[in-house]
């Protein structure tokens, strides 16, 4: 850039340096509130949580400010508690069960609504409603529908000649009940993202496949599925990251009961901290949860990056 060509831009080296310094100063000024927020509201609490997990932190600690250091005692207490394996297994079952069905139903609906027909867009946007509702609302509705004596689900089963199911009061059914609720909540998210992925597949590929004599299933198997794979990866990873930490649904539908049969790592961490007031142990379970969520989170970022690279 010559001086003559750009008379209005700062021309001398000194002015240039000044403007660059101004630029950096301005940029930091704009970033400052966000940086402060991250440090104060993420950095500090996470560090505090780590410290707390090595302390015997109780209600008394809030008044006295004293919480004796106990090393890994909280972790060993949590790991040797029989509830740990229950909560870990429930978390796995809840996550896998929710995701398999959310994804399967979401994909089927995405393919269905990808066809052009009257009302397709309107019906698809109506299906977003369950996703936008507060989870507490969805939980309350399903709890009412699961009611053993007055719930509509059992009324339907009785009508069809089956026995009523003790959805929420039986330790063998309660987990299914919360999974069903969570599947219902998760379908719209899967539908919308997968539908977006389907939209990006060029129609010419389907026309070519049809010319080659491919039937509907073959077109799905050889065109849709492979081309949708990057989006599929993202949806599944995000689903994992979200589902592992689900709290509201379980608290409202079963409260973790009966007899701990729907307790997950998240609800157990809540229980330890806020009902048993064993804050150190609650923090320890929370840290286990962070490790699990971060592993899946990093996998998600990798698959998201791969998708972006492919798209570029």
């Amino acid at each position: 850039m010559t001086v003559a060509a750009a008379p209005r831009v700062s021309a001398t080296p000194r002015a240039n340096r000044k403007s660059r310094r101004d630029n950096r100063f301005a940029a930091w000024a704009f970033l400052l509130p966000a940086l402060a927020y991250v440090v104060v509201f993420f950095g500090y609490p996470l560090a505090a949580n780590l410290v707390m997990s090595t302390q015997n932190y109780t209600v008394k600690s809030f008044y006295t400010g004293e919480a004796p250091f106990v090393g890994i005692e909280n972790y060993s207490a949590v790991l040797s508690n029989p509830l740990f394996s229950t909560a870990a297994l429930n978390t796995a079952l809840f996550t896998v069960g929710s995701i398999v069905f959310q994804f399967g139903i979401g994909l089927a609906l995405a393919v269905f609504f990808n066809g052009r027909f009257l009302g397709s867009a309107l019906l698809r946007s109506l299906l977003l409603l369950p996703w936008l509702l507060p989870l507490v609302v969805s939980g309350a509705v399903w709890r009412w529908m699961f009611d053993q004596d007055h719930g509509v689900l059992n009324a339907g089963l009785r009508f069809l000649g089956f026995d009523a199911v003790p959805w929420l009061s039986s330790t063998s059914w309660a987990l299914s009940a919360v999974i069903i609720t969570n599947i219902w909540i998760g379908i719209p998210f899967n539908l919308v993202i997968l539908h977006g992925g389907l939209r990006a597949i060029p129609a010419s590929l389907y026309e070519a496949a049809a010319l080659d004599g491919a039937g509907a299933w073959q077109r799905f198997r050889h065109v849709t599925w492979p081309l949708l794979r990057p989006v599929t990866g993202i949806v599944l990873m995000l689903g994992l990251v979200y589902t592992i930490k689900v709290f509201d649904v379980i608290m409202v539908v079963t409260g973790g009961g009966p007899a701990g049969s729907t307790q997950t790592l998240t609800t157990w961490s809540y229980r330890l901290s806020f009902q048993d007031f064993a804050f150190g142990q609650g923090a320890a379970v929370g840290n286990v949860l962070i490790v699990v969520a971060t592993v899946f989170g990093l996998l998600y970022l990798r698959s998201a990056k791969a998708t972006l690279a492919e798209a570029a």
């Binding site: 950096r24 940029a27 930091w28 000024a29 704009f30 970033l31 966000a34 940086l35 927020y37 991250v38 509201f41 993420f42 505090a48 707390m52 932190y57 269905f112 609504f113 066809g115 052009r116 027909f117 009257l118 009302g119 397709s120 019906l123 946007s125 109506l126 299906l127 977003l128 409603l129 369950p130 936008l132 509702l133 507060p134 989870l135 507490v136 609302v137 939980g139 309350a140 009412w144 529908m145 007055h150 219902w184 919308v192 993202i193 949806v235 930490k245 709290f247 608290m251 998240t266 961490s269 809540y270 901290s273 806020f274 609650g282 929370g286 962070i290 969520a293 971060t294 899946f296 998708t307």
Partner: protein
Amino acid sequence: MKTANWPRTVAGVLIVAVLLFPLYWMVNASLQPSGALLRPDPAFFPVGGTLDGYRKAVSTQGPNLLSSVVVALGTVLVSLLVAAPASYALAQLKVRGGPALVFVLLIVQMIPGIVMANALYTVFSNLGLIDNYLGLVLADSTATIPFAILLLRAFMISVPKELTEASRVDGAGYWRTFGSIILPVSRNALVTAGLFSFLFAWADFLFAVTLTTGQSFEPITVGIYRFVGNQSADWNGIMATAVLAAVPAAVLLVVAQRYVVAGLTSGAVKD
């Protein structure tokens, strides 16, 4: 080529009817007298319905609904105030460490809320922010600020540099450029970020139940939770409250549907 494919439309309506049945059931139950809800065979239509449930909902949960409005609006304000300038810097001004900050924002979204609640509880109890509107707004913002920054940054990257450079050359400072160029052209993105912040804070249960004791105020989600937990559960009142708590989501879906879909997909697929 749009053809009316009637069998598909009928199938689509049926699918939507099945999937939205729980919502119908909520409205149906909210309009029936408590006694009718406890009969073995449920009535599928609220004939001879009553607004009793809504009367109970407004009289017992009215203040809670108001509290939630305050918290949600506060969260929108704080989120946008912090996120908009930061996104401008990350998208338009070269900052060393900018990409690292973006990575941090992506990662902190993965932190389970219960961990944040546990940690914030101890911090807030030292600061006197338990049972406090500001405390709950700040806690809710931990979830909305990272999302808002990433969403706004993705949008502001696409604002042509010529636009902001021209404004700089004309003698406008960075703040002028931000206020008179960036914010107006980013209006849609700001609406989307604000909308999602509102919906999150309105729906938040975890921070609400851990960081308030119900002594000075109680958000509606906690109100419903305590209402449900009550053994003598009065389902038409609960369902009426649930309907009222669902209203913002439904209204936003109708009024701002394209923003909702834009936010939903940008959060998941874009960087």
